[in-house]
Symmetry: C2
């Protein structure tokens, strides 16, 4: 039998206080936050969370890379740990919700369960993962990778920030020993649940309460270079040019059309473009632009990429320019666990919520976790789809339903 509605009490006021209090740590004078891993704001944020975890009666510890755990040990310690949380670090000029909200929600959900039902059968741990964004070092999913044993031995000495400091040295500066990284590996995890803001406009614009992601979308990033012929902009008739920027413009139109016509959740984005030499009065010699294309379905993702690459080839051939395509990033879609999704959708229905099963267009710690243990995600709406921005906002009455669904799923996983 599922949890009754009135049994779970989420302390919305405390949740909002936590959001705002942690949201002030790392605040920048120009607006927004910056809490890169192993910085002073990161240390301050972890200290604050440690205090809140302890106040909730949880057993608190850090692992070797600094991820913070608050544990409610279960009666049956042989049946693995149900882990829930998200990351504490932010992008530069980020907001108060990306990552942090998943920690706050996990703590609030666990407190409501402890209050209502006491000690769980399986142990539950709330986690503040030390690093996800890769903002300071190119070390994305650092905390999750440590837990999964996926940090390469040379990374502490190889990864450097913009000041040339290695991540190993940065760890040591705040009291963590890079030699101990292998000790962070966990073999006792039974499941991972992560609540996160959607980071897109789908839920907010449709007036939905919740998203239940079924897949972390697959992605390919490409760099396209077009070689035309540099010419004088005044003396070269239009009909005698090999203008790579005109070809690039047609390609961008076709790339956009390919994703448009495939429909959601297909996306294709050209976010960066450069024409060389880049003079007002010179027909460019070459143009380079990037494409970021994503789809949650493995076959559809490949079909979209094929359409895009074919369109690029057709435009280049028609324009008489040479083109080369370089692959920057290739990520297969990562499906989330089917049983956990069922728990989450049941919980959403029990709460009377309007939810959408949807892919996650953005990357999350869950995409690493899901490749190694049963993993599920919950999205709450993002106002106007804003994220990685000081404008990130989700009203507390749109956060609480997600916390309730998270608590119900934790109940199913850890109390039954």
């Amino acid at each position: 039998m599922a949890v009754g509605r009135r049994q779970l009490r989420i302390d919305a006021a405390e949740l909002e206080t936590h959001i705002q209090t942690l949201g002030a740590v790392g605040a920048l004078p120009e607006g927004g936050l910056y809490r890169p891993v192993y910085s002073q704001p990161w240390v301050d944020a972890m200290a604050l969370l440690e205090r809140w975890f302890a106040q909730a009666g949880l057993e608190v510890r850090h692992d070797a890379v600094g991820s913070l755990f608050g544990r409610a040990t279960g009666r049956d310690t042989e049946d693995g740990v149900v882990l829930t949380g998200s990351h504490v670090d932010t992008v530069l000029r980020g907001g108060r919700y990306d990552g942090a909200l998943g920690i706050h929600a996990s703590l609030a959900a666990l407190r409501s369960l402890l209050d209502a039902f006491g000690r769980p059968r399986r142990s539950i741990e709330v986690v503040a993962l030390c690093e996800e964004e890769g903002s300071r070092f190119h070390c994305t999913f650092w905390g999750t990778r440590a837990m999964l044993g996926l940090i390469a031995p040379d990374e502490p000495d190889v990864l450097r920030d913009a000041d040339g400091i290695t991540i190993g040295a940065a760890m040591a500066q705040v009291g963590f020993d890079p030699a101990a990284i292998p000790s962070a590996r966990r073999s006792d995890l039974a499941a991972f649940l992560e609540l996160h803001i959607e980071q897109g406009p789908v839920l907010a614009s449709a007036g939905l309460d919740l998203g239940i992601p079924h897949t972390i979308t697959g992605q390919r990033q490409l760099a396209v270079t077009i070689h035309g012929r540099q010419d004088h902009a005044g003396t070269t008739p239009m009909d005698m040019r090999l203008d790579p920027l005109v070809a690039a413009a047609r390609m961008i139109e076709r790339i956009t059309l390919a994703a448009d016509s495939m429909g959601r959740p297909a996306v294709a984005t050209v976010g960066r473009i450069e024409a060389r030499p880049g003079a007002v009065n010179v027909v460019a010699d070459s143009v380079r632009f990037t494409i970021d294309t994503r789809h949650s379905d493995a076959l559809q993702r490949l079909a979209l990429i094929q359409q895009i690459e074919a369109a690029i080839g057709e435009v280049a051939a028609a324009a008489g320019v040479k083109v080369s395509i370089e692959r920057l990033i290739e990520l297969e879609p990562v499906p989330l666990d089917g049983e956990i999704r069922s728990l989450l959708t049941s919980a959403a229905r029990d709460e009377g919520l309007r939810y959408l099963e949807m892919p996650s267009g953005a990357g999350h710690d869950s995409q690493m976790m899901a490749q190694h243990l049963p993993t599920g995600m919950i999205f709450v709406p993002s106002r106007e789809g804003r994220s990685h921005s000081p404008e990130e906002f989700t009203p507390i009455d749109q956060v609480v339903p997600g916390v309730r669904v998270l608590a119900r799923a934790l109940y199913e996983l850890a109390y039954r």
Copy 2:
């Protein structure tokens, strides 16, 4: 009666020697030339030309800004001076023909006339103009503007090169007094003739011998800024975006189409583009690109600009993005003198040449001169249309016909 064909003897071997010898002055290790005004290569080039002018029996002098004149004084000094020549400075990594060829051609033409017909009625001066390109200082047409009294009093102290040196200080370093600039003004000029490489592919690709420009094309340069909305490239569905780069791509296509469909000599070029923030995985917030558009006909030029601006507005409205257009440069077309054009076309016919009356898509000293005195130009072909490049090349047998036409026109202007 026109000059007989056999009366004019152009010394092609000496002409080629002059092209190659001056073409070695300012040669860069990586290929190409650089002779910015008042640099050591510029001083060396002027010294070489001074020697050649003197060897030809001309009276040699510099004016206050350093332009070099070689004069054959006429019998009738009351009837003004016929001036012919071009500029000695080059762009960075320029070639041996742009500018320099007009000086060589003028000297060769004048020598052939002096040899055949002796002293002219009107004085003829060959000029090596000190500066046209604006490569070191933003001082385009410096030599010509000095002759026309168009240098503003503050320019010597205001114009600075990349090292912060003022053009006045640079003049003083090579022995010219900026205070004397007003003395360079000429009131005795009756006509100006300039031979130049076409700098475009029209003559070479059509197998024509000569171009007789009727107009220096009018130009407008614009900067277009499009404001869309920055969004996450993974989480924002295609149908919910305000992507300024997609709008820019459509605008570039329409801009190109506008010039294409108007036909020669309409041109429109987007040579520079930037998307901000310019990240692979972020839908851009804004895009800025430039347009350089030219036409030799004043009304057609305005019609082309109107079409382009209308297309930009239509695309922006359809895409829901905001757009602003800033004017960078506005130049009306400058017609060249009709009587001198008649002299030049008659001369080309007398030489049995296939010539094209055409606009000049590039700017030249002649566009300044033509606004103050009767001015004409002669274009010789540029191999593959190359210019402002080490690849600039015109075979000597395609130079000589232009020199012969120049000589015939000088005869009509100065010997009759």
